[in-house]
């Protein structure tokens, strides 16, 4: 068993992951849930199955460290991870007060939503995961780039090295590409955090 992370789950941690069929939502969910299980946490996931495998809306509910209800109630998710801006907005009301939204997108969400997010103290971080995946030469790894980005912000409460170990465990021959994507997303996230830190007065 790997070491339990510092900020272990004393309570439930609820993550909603959404996007479009074909973007790898199911694999991303599996990466996070398997990592949590490897760390010894109780996990419940609810997947979307059925009609419209390609191009339809897909949503996963992932609960770490809580009870056994499979679905997350609107207004109670700690984190929303969206691989598509439209799906992010459709599902924004899953996020609780003070929660965080990570969107794979070049743009901010619709301006009409921003005052509500501010009022509810919901932090939104958009990030071009697809563009980074394309740069890496594997556009299909945008989902993993996103995982790295979110991990940099500690939005998952799952340590980077454990996500890496899970990739080696479950990604098979895609492990190498996925590890690169995870690292790229993580670095981009760390950089964004540094850039957004206001510099101390005297160093200007």
């Amino acid at each position: 068993m790997t070491t339990v992370p510092q900020n272990s789950f004393c309570e439930e941690h609820k993550i909603v992951i959404t996007g479009i069929g074909g973007q790898g939502i199911v694999f991303l969910t599996r990466l996070l849930s398997q990592t949590a299980v490897n760390l010894g946490y109780p996990v419940v996931v609810s997947e979307t199955h059925g009609m419209s495998q390609r191009g339809g809306s897909v949503i996963s509910h992932l609960k770490i460290g809580g009870n056994e209800a499979p679905l997350i109630q609107r207004g109670s998710a700690d984190v929303l991870i969206a691989l598509d801006a439209n799906e992010a907005m459709q599902n924004l009301d899953f996020v609780r007060r003070g929660g965080t939204v990570f969107v794979s997108s070049n743009e901010e969400l619709h301006p009409d939503l921003l005052p509500h997010l501010e009022r509810l103290n919901i932090r939104t971080l958009h990030f071009p995961a697809s563009a980074i995946a394309v740069e890496l030469g594997s556009p299909e790894t945008a989902n993993i780039v996103m995982a790295g980005f979110v991990c940099a912000y500690d939005g998952l409460n799952l340590p980077l090295e454990d996500l890496q170990a899970t990739i080696k465990q479950i990604a098979g021959k895609r492990a190498e590409g996925n590890l690169k994507a995870l690292a790229a997303g993580f670095q981009a996230g760390k950089k964004k955090i540094e850039d957004s830190q206001p510099l101390p007065e005297n160093s200007r």
């Binding site: 479009i20 074909g22 599996r30 849930s33 398997q34 299980v37 490897n38 109780p42 996990v43 419940v44 996931v45 609810s46 997947e47 979307t48 199955h49 059925g50 009609m51 419209s52 495998q53 390609r54 191009g55 339809g56 809306s57 809580g66 009870n67 056994e68 209800a69 499979p70 679905l71 997350i72 109630q73 609107r74 207004g75 109670s76 439209n86 799906e87 907005m89 459709q90 924004l92 009301d93 609780r96 007060r97 619709h110 009409d112 939503l113 509500h116 997010l117 009022r119 509810l120 556009p139 465990q169």
Partner: protein
């Protein structure tokens, strides 16, 4: 070895394999489809001698497994809830005859419904058929229940139903590596023993069997009163309100109580039929109000003899249709608890944010046929040829989405497109309506229950065009083989494969053509020829087999002959292609001025070239490729 994460369907499959199930059968249907695939996976992993098949339909699946149980082996059959209707004939009979080896029937219900014609509650069918039910609330519990269901089945010689629901089938949670409990499932004498008085019982003896069945149920109800699947939580929190809940609804209710900030005693029921009524009565007696929470209908609530203090779906305290989502659960409990003066937290959902999202009118991604789907080409040609006046009876499968293209006017159940076409023809004939009738059905659905309707239509002289949309697999549920495939459930080679054209001919159809819907010109010509056959003096039913593999299952034909396309600058955004052809890869610009190809989705089938009558969708020429 790390702890394994299992879906509910995998947990059920593992439970069956580790408890010595020897014969497992199924017909695919969401949310149950992954159970049989899981059985094959664990059979290989645990090296078990087990026979598993995708049967041609649920009745066949039920009877194959039942026969195995009559020999003394442990057997199971899985299906979706509407599949149990198809298998209900043998279900009712099997309740009377009973079984020898353990026999578990697994109909997966779909509260919501997410991908079904109805929300029907299989527990109510079980109640009518008099078959005991286990109602699991988590994947791990479902796996554990398999052992007890087999044991109960063998002890009382009765079929047992394990009834999961969508949110359990598709939930994923950790499961222990070791078997829930060990049992070889070794039958006493694994051989069919002839006993005509029992297995072929005449009506007089069936009366005796019914009496015996009723006695078994009384004994089982007494046993269920001590079942570990029925227990109380929040016992020490008194008050006026108690909750009785089963299945996934139990956990959803517990979560809702946390959000509400209230603790209420809850009786969890894992054995809803025959209901251990004394447990319910003893629990209920402590409260002035008891709320029953179950999905999708009212199996427990219906069986409670004294319903004076009972609130649930029957009196409207709980919505009488639909899934008990966390939001519905919160609202139901919030209303009931505050109604008796208990203070609860407000909903965590922010109504203003939800309203703001709604106001944006974001594009909903409704289910659509996949890019390159040959059904789209068939529907498009059919619709262009016969126009909006023709009647288009459709059937159950991916191709039900042809309703988006207005090429599916009806769907009822498996095989109904052919019977409905027959009925429309006869009704139209009586009133002198000469509209063309063109029915569509998939290959798996045709084999499942299209053949008797076709025989009926031929024999009674009906005249319509039937398109069998043959994509070579059961696509919607995940590519399970049909009898027309040359492989079996476990991937091994099938001893024989059944020919759909030969079957159609054998039904007495004289006009049978096999054609590729991608060849739209030829396809349209054949549609006209077929329609002419239905009108000819010596004509009848005309069958066209639209033959093209599902692109998700086998896209080799496209990879071999790709036809990349571009939309020319002349495109004026008239939307004809996006509406009449509706390929997800055809995307109208936000300002509506032009259609673009989404090359992430496009699979280079070139089928949309015909969908722009203005000629603005054209093949991408080699020299244009950078």
């Amino acid at each position: 070895m790390s702890t394994q994460l299992l879906t509910g369907n995998d947990a059920i499959a593992l439970g069956l394999v580790e408890q010595g199930c020897r014969v497992a059968t199924a017909y695919p249907g969401t949310p149950s489809s992954e159970i049989l695939a899981g059985i094959i996976k664990y059979k290989k992993a645990l090296d078990k001698d087990l026979y598993a098949e995708w049967s041609v339909n649920e009745k066949v699946a039920f009877e194959v497994a039942l026969a195995a149980a009559w020999t003394g082996l442990r057997a199971a059959v899985a299906m979706k809830q509407v599949g149990l209707n198809v298998a209900s004939d043998p279900l009712f009979s099997a309740a009377y005859t009973g079984v020898k080896g353990g026999f578990i029937v697994i109909p997966a219900d779909d509260p919501g419904p997410h991908s079904s014609q109805t929300e029907q509650d299989s527990r109510l069918l079980a109640l009518t058929a008099k078959v005991p039910v286990f109602d699991p609330s988590t994947p791990a519990e479902a796996r554990e229940m398999i052992a007890d269901a087999f044991a109960l089945s063998e002890r009382f010689k009765i079929p047992v139903i394990l009834r999961p629901t969508t949110r359990l089938c598709h939930a994923v949670s950790p499961s222990a590596d070791a078997p829930a409990s060990s049992s070889d499932g070794k039958p006493v004498s694994p051989k069919f023993q002839k006993d005509p008085a029992h297995w072929t019982a005449t009506p007089k003896l069936r009366y005796k069997l019914h009496t015996e069945l009723n006695q078994k149920l009384i004994e089982i109800a007494a046993e269920f009163a001590n079942s570990k699947y029925n227990y109380i939580v929040n016992e020490d929190h008194g008050g006026e309100v108690g909750i009785i809940a089963s299945g996934v609804a139990f956990h959803t209710a517990r979560q809702a109580l946390l959000e509400l900030g209230v603790r209420v005693p809850m009786l969890k029921i894992g054995t809803p039929y025959p209901l251990p009524v004394n447990l319910i009565e003893a629990f209920s007696a402590r409260f002035t109000t008891v709320i029953v929470l179950e999905e999708p209908d009212t199996c427990i609530e219906l069986q409670i003899p004294n319903r004076q203090r009972v609130r649930g779906r029957l009196d409207g305290s709980v919505p009488n249709s639909g899934e008990l989502t966390p939001e519905v659960m919160f609202s139901v409990l919030s209303k009931s608890l505050s109604g008796v003066g208990i203070q609860v937290n407000p909903s965590p959902e922010d109504a203003d944010l939800s309203a703001a999202i709604k106001k944006l009118s974001l594009p909903a991604r409704r289910p659509r046929l996949c890019p390159g789907c040959s059904h789209r080409s068939a529907f498009y040609a059919m619709k262009q040829n016969f126009g909006p006046r023709a009647i288009y009876p459709g059937d159950i499968g991916c191709y039900t989405l042809g309703t988006n293209l207005r090429a599916v006017d009806t769907f009822v159940d498996m095989g109904a497109s052919i019977t409905m076409a027959n009925g429309f023809f006869q009704a139209n004939r009586l009133v002198g309506d000469d509209r063309a009738v063109i029915a569509t059905i998939g290959d798996s659905t045709f084999l499942h229950s299209g053949i008797p309707p076709l025989i009926n239509a031929v024999h009674t002289g009906a005249r319509f065009v039937l398109l069998i949309l043959d994509n070579h697999t059961t696509a919607m549920t995940g590519f399970q083989p049909t009898p027309a495939n040359d492989y079996l459930a476990d991937g091994s080679e099938a001893p024989r494969k059944v020919s759909i054209p030969d079957l159609v001919r054998a039904c007495g159809v004289e006009y049978v053509k096999v054609t590729d819907p991608y060849e739209q010109e030829d396809f349209t010509a054949i549609l006209n020829e077929a329609q002419a056959h239905t009108q000819a003096a010596d004509g009848g039913v005309a069958v066209i087999i639209a033959d093209r593999p599902c692109v998700l299952y086998d896209n080799d034909p496209i990879l071999e002959h790709p036809i990349p396309v571009v939309v020319t600058d002349e495109c004026d955004g008239c939307r004809f292609c996006t509406e009449a052809f509706e390929c997800p890869a055809l995307v109208l610009r936000a300002d509506g001025s032009h259609v673009d190809i989404d090359y992430k989705l496009c699979i280079d089938c070139g089928q949309c070239i015909d969908a722009c009558y203005k000629g603005f969708i054209v093949p991408k020429l080699a020299e244009m490729v950078p």
